[in-house]
């Protein structure tokens, strides 16, 4: 299980260093529980990422045994969606629990266009809600949130100091029994810019990869807001998720686009799953996501949420039989190869084009019917014939390398030898010719 989940605050007491915010939120919740509905029916928790906003709400829900309705960043949050979910929940009396907490993450991320009307709808719902509504935001001072601010109580979460983060990391190191230099922890904490979640992920990446956490390693490996790290976090959450929402949130909140995510998952399933049925289920889910993506791209963007369901939870819960393997995530071969292989593609298409023209067939036919034999000839065939063939079709050096592999040097030197032979013969002929001319002119 990733450490961010393992060490995520489970009780309210576990949420550290946010005493002021904590007491405001708790007082507000207590008055709901006592049946005295506060005048402001909603809170807006704000502060930098990874300081415990969502964790606090989640721990309150579990500690007070309340139902929690979470709406994540990429759920559609237009007027009608909000009406369907938030509005309904705001009037609902839960069957088994005392109350429903409605948690809407990242309201500053509501897009004025695609989530049009979302804020206005919230403003209608909040005053009449019979359940507590909690909103979170990194930047509450955004213009789009101005009207909303009247309807909520603002609660600030402070950015953690370097020392506070070091303490959190140190605690984890002790529990995991990993040797951690204080200098190294300090480095991680500083680079995290107050984001505890990020710091814990960085710590885990180093500890898992190197077995110990020293300043030398950390200073080489940890970089601020590295994209790989974000992907690494997302993948971890997907493959280790215990709950549907964990996997979904991981995909939802990733900074990467879904196609990149799919490529990463596509390449890391075999690194993490082993049981053939688990592996197939995971791929089946991904394959269905890929169909949905194609449909979404042809204008049906409302399908996006289902894609998240399939690539996140779909992959998480594919694992039924086996364990999660401890292999490290690898960079997707597809993307890596695409980058490296642009040249291969160019060479392949170049060769196919040349030959297609000469034998009057399509490139497709050349690739499937001729190239397999051409490879054989170029790699293993008689060098004389191979070099003549190469010069006849004027293959470039890169194309030769593509066709003949390591043999390219041998072929090129053979071509050069051939060329200089031809030149010599030609010049011999022309000098003969010149001599003849001379003779003729003399005889005249």
């Amino acid at each position: 299980m990733p450490w961010v989940i393992k060490y995520r605050p489970k009780k309210v007491d576990d949420v550290v260093n946010q005493e002021e915010a904590k007491s405001t939120v708790l007082t507000w919740i207590h008055s709901w529980l006592e049946g005295k509905r506060p005048t402001k029916k909603a809170l807006l928790l704000y502060g930098p990422p990874g300081v415990g906003k969502t964790s606090l709400v989640e721990s309150i829900a579990s500690e007070y045994d309340l139902e929690l309705l979470e709406l994540n960043a990429s759920d559609y949050r237009r007027t009608q969606d909000i009406r369907k979910t938030v509005a309904v929940a705001s009037q609902k009396k839960p069957l088994f629990k005392k109350m429903i907490i409605i948690l809407m993450d990242e309201v500053d991320g509501l897009s004025p266009r695609s989530d049009a009307g979302g804020i206005e709808e919230l403003m209608k719902i909040i005053p009449n809600s019979i359940n507590p509504i909690i909103l979170t935001a990194n930047d509450p001072w955004k213009d789009s949130l101005r009207p909303l601010r009247e309807y909520v109580t603002m609660v600030q979460f402070k950015q953690l100091t370097t020392n506070q983060i070091i303490a959190v990391l140190q605690n984890i190191c002790n529990k995991e029994k990993i040797q951690c230099d204080r200098e190294a922890l300090k480095f991680i904490a500083e680079k995290s810019l107050g984001d505890v979640r990020g710091a814990i992920n960085d710590l885990e990446a180093v500890a898992e990869g190197y077995g110990r956490v020293t300043f030398n390693i950390v200073s080489l490996v940890v970089k601020p807001r590295e994209k790989n790290i974000d992907l690494w976090r997302t993948l971890n959450s997907v493959f280790y998720a215990r709950e549907f929402w964990q996997a979904r949130k991981a995909v939802n909140t990733s900074e990467e686009d879904y196609e990149t995510l799919m490529a990463w998952i596509n390449d890391n399933i075999p690194a993490k799953y082993e049981d053939p049925e688990d592996v197939f289920r995971a791929w089946d889910s991904l394959a269905r996501a890929s169909i949905f993506l194609k449909r979404a791209k042809s204008g049906n963007w409302f399908l996006l949420p289902y894609i998240f369901d399939l690539i996140g939870p779909g992959v998480s819960f594919a694992r039924k039989n086996g364990q999660v393997l401890r292999n490290r995530f690898s960079y997707p071969a597809k993307i890596k190869e695409m980058a490296q292989l642009k040249s291969v593609r160019e060479n392949r298409e170049g060769v196919a084009r040349t030959i297609a023209k000469r034998i009057h067939a399509s490139k497709r036919i050349v690739k499937s019917e001729v190239l397999p034999y051409l490879f054989l000839m170029m790699k293993y065939g008689d060098i004389n014939r191979v070099s003549k063939l190469s010069s006849y079709y004027s293959f470039t050096e890169d194309q030769l390398r593509y066709l003949a592999g390591s043999r390219v040097k041998e072929i090129i030197s053979s071509i050069n030898r051939e060329a200089s032979n031809v030149k010599e013969t030609k010049s011999a002929e022309s000098s003969k010719h010149a001599a003849k001319k001379k003779r003729r002119s003399r005889s005249k």
């Binding site: 053939p276 991904l286 291969v344 392949r348 298409e349 009057h360 690739k367 000839m377």
Partner: protein, 325 residues
């Protein structure tokens, strides 16, 4: 060997004139008459690959216009052109170019016409009508049933058949002798068997074998084995053994080195699975065909090839483990 140029034998030994063509005699006779009368309708050449459709079209044009025939012929390949609009532009421009002396028309050769959607074919039909005064179309296709009726009814139809055993073997002998290549008779038989009446394939196998040494049965088998189909077979066998990771590596290699499209890979998998080379029960074969068809459809609809084919291999590995192949 001197300084004689070396080229692909499929290019070098392509007949230039109808007179040089050895097979499909009925067809050649009719085409020869067109060349003599200097007139012809639109033509539709249908038949399996490597049976001389494209060669016959070039030879006809050669006999009509002479050695420099390419200035009066526009060669298009439906699977390489980017849709009907590019085809339309090219035909339009070509129709405007100068006309040959004595002959009233130029030729548009459209190869692999059965790869066009029926919408594109409708557009093509209009093109054929629009320029029928100055051009004749020759369409070549593997599957004539994929050509829409209105086009078929406008064309004289020619059905090319797979090339006869003796014709292929005689041609191979002629080439081998001309190239000073040693060969065993038995080896040529094997080449014929493997090529299934496809001349281009037979010549390619002969050339690759000759490059490796004397053309013997052993060398031919080596060449055929080393050419791609083996990769696909290996891939299927690896996954049936439950060796998914290896199977996936082969998949990558096939798609990247040969640049095969996902659909090409699916087709090859199908060919391998339905042959007798892979030992599985017929019941499983049906199951696999069912799922492979699904995968083929998904890819044809634009879903990610790598993901879909990986899903297929993962499924095959699971099935392989279950039934203990």
């Amino acid at each position: 060997m001197g300084f004689e140029a070396e080229l692909l034998w499929a290019e070098k030994y392509r007949p230039r004139s109808l007179k040089e063509m050895i097979d499909q005699q009925d067809i050649i006779n009719r085409l020869t008459r067109f060349a003599e009368e200097k007139n012809m309708p639109h033509l539709l050449f249908a038949g399996p690959p490597g049976t001389g459709k494209t060669t016959a079209a070039h030879a006809l044009a050669h006999d009509l216009y002479g050695d420099a025939y390419m200035q009066f012929m526009l060669e298009l390949n439906a699977s390489d052109e980017r849709g009907i609009d590019t085809i339309r532009e090219k035909v339009k421009e070509f129709a405007r170019s100068k006309t040959p002396p004595e002959i009233q028309f130029k030729i548009v050769l459209l190869d692999e016409a059965d790869n066009m959607t029926s919408d594109a074919q409708q557009a093509l039909r209009r093109l054929m009508e629009l320029y029928s005064g100055s051009t004749r179309f020759i369409l070549a296709a593997n599957y004539p049933s994929k050509i829409i009726d209105p086009i078929q009814s406008r064309c004289a139809f020619f059905r090319f058949t797979t090339i006869r055993r003796e014709d292929i073997i005689n041609r191979l002998k002629f080439i081998a002798e001309n190239e000073n290549v040693e060969y065993d008779e038995e080896a040529l038989d094997i080449i014929y068997e493997v090529s299934e009446g496809d001349m281009r394939k037979a010549i390619n196998i002969l050339q690759a074998s000759a490059y490796l040494g004397k053309v013997s049965a052993e060398v031919v088998f080596r060449v055929v084995g080393m050419a791609r189909p083996k990769d696909v077979k290996d891939m299927i066998e690896a996954s049936l053994k439950g060796n998914f990771i290896e199977a996936r590596e082969i998949l990558r290699k096939v798609m990247i080195e040969y640049g095969l499209s996902g659909e090409d890979v699916v087709k090859q998998i199908h060919r391998e699975l339905m042959g007798s080379n892979i030992k599985i029960s017929d019941e499983i074969r049906v199951l696999i065909a069912d799922y492979l068809g699904e995968i083929h459809y998904r890819i044809s609809q634009g879903s990610d090839e790598d993901i879909q084919l990986s899903a297929f291999l993962a499924w095959l590995s699971m099935i392989g483990r279950k039934v203990g192949v």
